[in-house]
């Protein structure tokens, strides 16, 4: 299962204040833990919303609105994409996000739609073909 983990913004991140050295170090170690556990797919920090833009849709009209945006606590400041066995595992990892400066904050976890969610299924016959193709080819150095 995949989850998008979104760190919400706060006044500091919106002001472009650099994270403390302690936070940077501990965040680095946390990212390393995600990599070593084989669960990190991607992760990035986002520039403050003062550098951001929104495009509002209404029918065929498009309105471009430049940041900054007021609702700080709802803004996304950074994200990870993780691959874990369950939502509970995602929550456990998120609880381990370091917060050495003792700030208040919020992290949102949202599941990503996967292939299974779209209900593709093999028929028994098709699966048999696939299995034979794979077992014959896979161990001999070909891929499909």
């Amino acid at each position: 299962m995949r989850f998008m983990v979104m760190i919400k913004a706060n006044a500091k991140s919106e002001a472009g204040v650099m994270p403390s050295e302690r936070l940077l170090t501990e965040m680095g170690k946390f990212n390393e833990e995600l990599v070593k556990a084989g669960v990190l797919l991607a992760g990035e920090g986002l520039h403050p919303s003062s550098k951001g833009t929104r495009v509002r849709f209404s029918g065929s009209s498009r309105t471009v609105i430049d940041g900054p945006f007021p609702e700080t606590k709802e803004l996304v400041a950074g994200f990870w994409l993780i691959q874990v066995s369950s939502k509970e595992e995602a929550i456990e990892w998120v609880k381990r996000i370091p917060n050495p400066d003792g700030d208040d904050g919020e992290v949102e976890i949202r599941q990503v739609f996967d292939a299974e969610d779209f209900g593709a299924e093999f028929t028994t016959e098709a699966r048999a073909l696939e299995e034979r193709m794979r077992s014959e080819l896979a161990s001999r150095g070909t891929s499909g």
Partner: protein
């Protein structure tokens, strides 16, 4: 938190912590079987206490502390164990439950080493492949016996027995808890990668229906591969395997048609390929290549998969490169099937005559005698060369060799088309 909630949380903590826990305990008691039992004891303690006390801030450390305490108890009760172990026990007692930061960092390296040792032991060649797979999923993947059983469509007691016997074999043969060195290392690494790829293929080939545990095997294998890549970053074949799995996994969504029929690579809708996984796969391949030396079989297979992954459409495929990669693969793992695939790549690059010349060297290969893809490929080359009557014969032969009804139908259709072209 409700009772089922706390149980799911404990399961999640187990997924995250169990491999490190077992590895750390193995270092203490020098017996994987005993270590796992101690780890299970710690899990039981968690299941008893955490619903009341809540999940501790550092669940890993909590579990390890319980495990080590039980280990000391065991060692006291068992006069057969080494004096050495008794000394280790004494050392453990005098350490704090939560160590100082510098000690924590030193322990971190130890944790990595222990985990790597556990990987090698679970995949030890003294065990049968089935045993290695079950043990790896259990000790390193954190899967329950039931989950493993469902994944491989065997009864749970079968898996349970397999694991019990595997641990006994490791104990009887006194398999050491160490990272192999020197000449032994390459073969042992191969053994690990073989297990992980087997798990991956089990999931990849069975992307089906009722039981989601089976496609999850791909994810479990990918996760294990990524873990080993961080534990053994200087082994190029590990990155090669990870690359191959990331790229193959990138195609999972494109492999099945609307009525559940499989779609071969060249016919897949490439917009359904997962580009994030492709990028990860290409990055892993680069890691393998940057370590220098000739590419091993997994890295070569990954490089072939990467050629397909880089092509925006089937027409843009770099077949010449694929052909030369198959040639390199044939040097490293010679096999008629590799040759057959090379022939296909050569025909795409240089035309059907070149492909046919290669395939004709394989027609008397005993291992390919019952392999329907050989006459199928040969028939295709002949058809492209306008030799329709010969093509029809080959395609009909291929049809008679396949047990799959849908495939037989497709081959007979192609044979009929050749018959018509022959008459025209």
């Amino acid at each position: 938190m409700t009772a089922p909630d706390i149980h799911r949380t404990i399961d999640a903590v187990w997924r995250i912590e169990s491999a490190k826990l077992i590895a750390g305990l193995t270092r203490v008691v020098r017996d994987v079987g005993l270590a796992e039992d101690l780890a299970q004891d710690a899990l039981l303690a968690a299941l008893e206490q955490w619903p009341k006390s809540g999940v501790p801030d550092n669940p890993g450390a909590w579990l390890m502390a319980i495990g080590k305490r039980r280990a000391i108890d065991q060692m006291r009760r068992n006069p057969m164990l080494d004096r050495k172990h008794a000394e280790i026990g004494h050392d453990l007692e005098s350490k704090q439950a939560s160590p100082e930061p510098e000690l924590a960092e030193a322990l971190d390296d130890e944790v990595g080493d222990d985990l790597l040792r556990l990987v090698f032991i679970a995949c030890h060649p003294v065990l049968s492949t089935e045993a290695r797979v079950a043990l790896t999923l259990r000790l390193l993947g954190g899967l329950t016996t039931d989950e493993i059983a469902r994944a491989f469509l065997v009864p749970e007691p079968t898996i349970a027995q397999r694991i019990v016997r595997a641990k006994k074999t490791l104990a009887d043969k006194k398999v050491p808890f160490e990272v192999p060195r020197g000449a032994e290392l390459a073969a042992r690494v191969s053994s690990v990668l073989e297990v992980i790829y087997l798990i991956f293929n089990e999931g990849y080939s069975a992307t089906s229906g009722e039981d989601w545990v089976r496609p999850n095997l791909c994810q479990d294998a990918l996760r294990l591969g990524r873990i080993v890549a961080e534990l053994a970053p200087n082994e190029p074949e590990v990155h090669g395997l990870v690359s191959l799995m990331e790229i193959q996994a990138s195609r999972l969504r494109a492999r099945v048609g609307p009525s559940g029929e499989p779609i071969v690579l060249l016919d897949q809708n490439r917009s359904k390929w997962d580009r994030l996984l492709i990028q990860r796969g290409l990055a892993a391949l680069e890691r393998a290549e940057s370590l220098g030396g000739a590419l091993g079989p997994f890295a070569l297979q990954a490089a072939i998969a990467a050629c397909h992954a880089r092509a925006r459409t089937a027409d843009e495929t770099d077949w010449r490169r694929i052909a030369s990669l198959y040639q390199a693969l044939a040097q490293v793992t010679p096999s008629p099937i590799v040759e057959l695939n090379r022939a296909v790549a050569v025909s795409m690059a240089d035309g059907p005559a070149a492909g046919l010349a290669l395939v004709d060297t394989l027609t008397s290969e005993p291992t390919l005698a019952k392999y329907h893809l050989l006459p199928s490929v040969r028939g295709d080359f002949l058809r492209k060369l306008g030799r329709f009557e010969e093509a029809r014969v080959e395609l009909e032969r291929a049809a008679s060799m396949t047990r799959n009804a849908r495939e037989r139908e497709l081959l007979l259709e192609r044979a009929r088309a050749c018959a018509e072209s022959a008459r025209a």
